[in-house]
Point group: C2
Chain length 304, copies 2
């Protein structure tokens, strides 16, 4: 079982408006909503690949209920702990006339110390049945800066490999706790390490304690660094589509690679082709499984 930790899950709401009038009233032509957040997307993709995935973290209030219900409807198991307040919504107002979108992100509910302590016990219990733990997405207010570090150490204590997709202090804190893989994107790596050069930034996180650093670079593919070895993996061509969720597909592929003890070139082939399969789908958390095998054969992996 893949254990996906969504400490701050969201209900993603999408409004479609043809020509938004700012500072005025607008009739919304369509409304879509579903459980979102990075770890939730990873779990959806693992489920689509036929793997058992469980999402844990915190859910709060009516919005938390909707998140849990939407995951159940998608066949994805959840084991959230309840929390006071309301889980956050993210709203994307998609303007079909302007061809762009405006986002509004509600704040997540704060996690009191008592709930964090309860979660750690709950998480340790779930780790006993996990083949890989994935920690992905933002850390809600109220948690210690080192929250991801604490979760990484608990996974290591339970001998469960752990992958972290985070940014800022959560990323550097997690790296120091010795996760198997950290997966920042290029901007996140630069921001967290202060280094423009990606191999240099990756080397910093390896030096901190990460077992491997996988840097997603959008259409250019992936850079992966382990102590002593570095690879690049590139998709065969630039794909048109929705890049949101490509990073989550990358993480899902890495998790499968770790669980199956695939070698690094194979992991990277899967990661790049599954990311590309996500770009081909309009919604984050979905992958085009018809296109996946063909993409898998055409990824170019090089050791550098």
């Amino acid at each position: 079982m893949f254990l996906c930790v969504a400490l701050n899950p969201a209900l993603d709401v999408t409004y479609t408006v043809a020509g938004v009038r700012w500072h005025a009233g607008n009739r919304v032509t369509s409304v879509a909503q579903r459980a979102g957040g990075k770890a939730t997307n990873v779990a959806r993709i693992l489920h689509a690949l036929g793997h058992e995935a469980v999402v844990t973290g915190f859910r709060a209030g009516d919005t938390g209920d909707l998140i849990a219900r939407d995951l159940a409807a998608a066949g994805v198991a959840e084991a959230f702990l309840p929390l006071r307040g309301e889980s956050r919504r993210t709203l994307a107002v998609v303007d079909t006339a302007a061809g762009d979108a405006t986002g509004f992100w509600e704040p997540g509910p704060p996690v009191p110390a008592e709930r964090w302590a309860a979660f750690l016990g709950h998480y340790r219990g779930l780790l006993t049945g996990a083949s890989v733990a994935v920690l992905s997405g933002s850390v809600p207010p109220g948690l210690p800066d080192d929250a991801y570090g604490v979760l990484v150490r608990a996974a290591r204590d339970a001998a469960v490999p752990v992958i972290v997709d985070a940014d800022g202090p959560a990323l550097t804190g997690a790296a120091a706790a010795g996760p198997d893989i950290v997966k920042p994107n290029a901007d996140e790596l630069r921001a967290a390490t202060g280094r423009d050069d990606l191999p240099a930034g990756a080397a910093d996180l390896l030096a901190k304690g990460a077992g491997a650093v996988v840097v997603s670079r959008g259409a250019e593919g992936i850079l992966a660094a382990t102590p002593g070895r570095t690879w690049t993996a590139r998709p065969p061509a630039r794909l048109a589509g929705n890049p949101t969720g490509a990073g989550d597909a990358c993480v899902a592929a890495l998790a499968v690679g770790v669980a199956t003890a695939a070698d690094w070139p194979d992991r990277l082939r899967m990661a790049v082709s599954l990311s590309a399969s996500a770009v081909l789908r309009p919604l984050a958390g979905e992958v085009d499984l018809d296109a996946y095998p063909g993409l898998l054969d055409s990824v170019v992996v090089q050791e550098v």
Copy 2:
């Protein structure tokens, strides 16, 4: 009991953002939500005045559940019929830096003919315990153009006085069915009758069949016309505050005036002062009951 009909109730959501960045992502600093819609606001105000009010209409899905739950928390009784789909949300993005707001209105769920027939039976049952019926707000998709007319005739058949706050074809259709009072605002009256002159527009609706026409004119107060008599009622001074919901307070006061058989000058005094009490409160559906008695004494009513 005051029966308030909300065919298309809403959950009003308010996002506060300090300086919205359009076409980009925005962190929402606070989220508020509550049951909204015009008839719901009227019921809240009647409840605040100590009267028994029941809201009926349709509620759908999770948002409908939230609307019903919020009314219950406010102590307002509801007797909604369930409907497939999702009740609508209205979102106001309040930009505290720009000092304005942008609104997004979700569509309401369509009402199939079978549900409308079921509602008419339900409504007739509720009318047996009602002293006044209030029909207020938008008509959801799927209903006949004359939906308000049908509800007015049912109230008249049950000998229950009925007040209508509507616009467009719903207003003119309702007027023809002979309601005791219609309450458009000045713009709505002009749009529905095509007449710039308010007394002339009011005369049109009286000729169609309305028992009285009360026109709300914002800070200028009210114009009221019955066959043969016309009054104006003005607040003592222009009040600073939130005019949203002032029309609902006007309707609530008219409903009380009808139920207590108050004469027209007294009804208008109550209507203008309760509207002013609503302006003093930040949220639609609330009135400042401390300010109300003083305002009541200072309204100027004149027959014209």
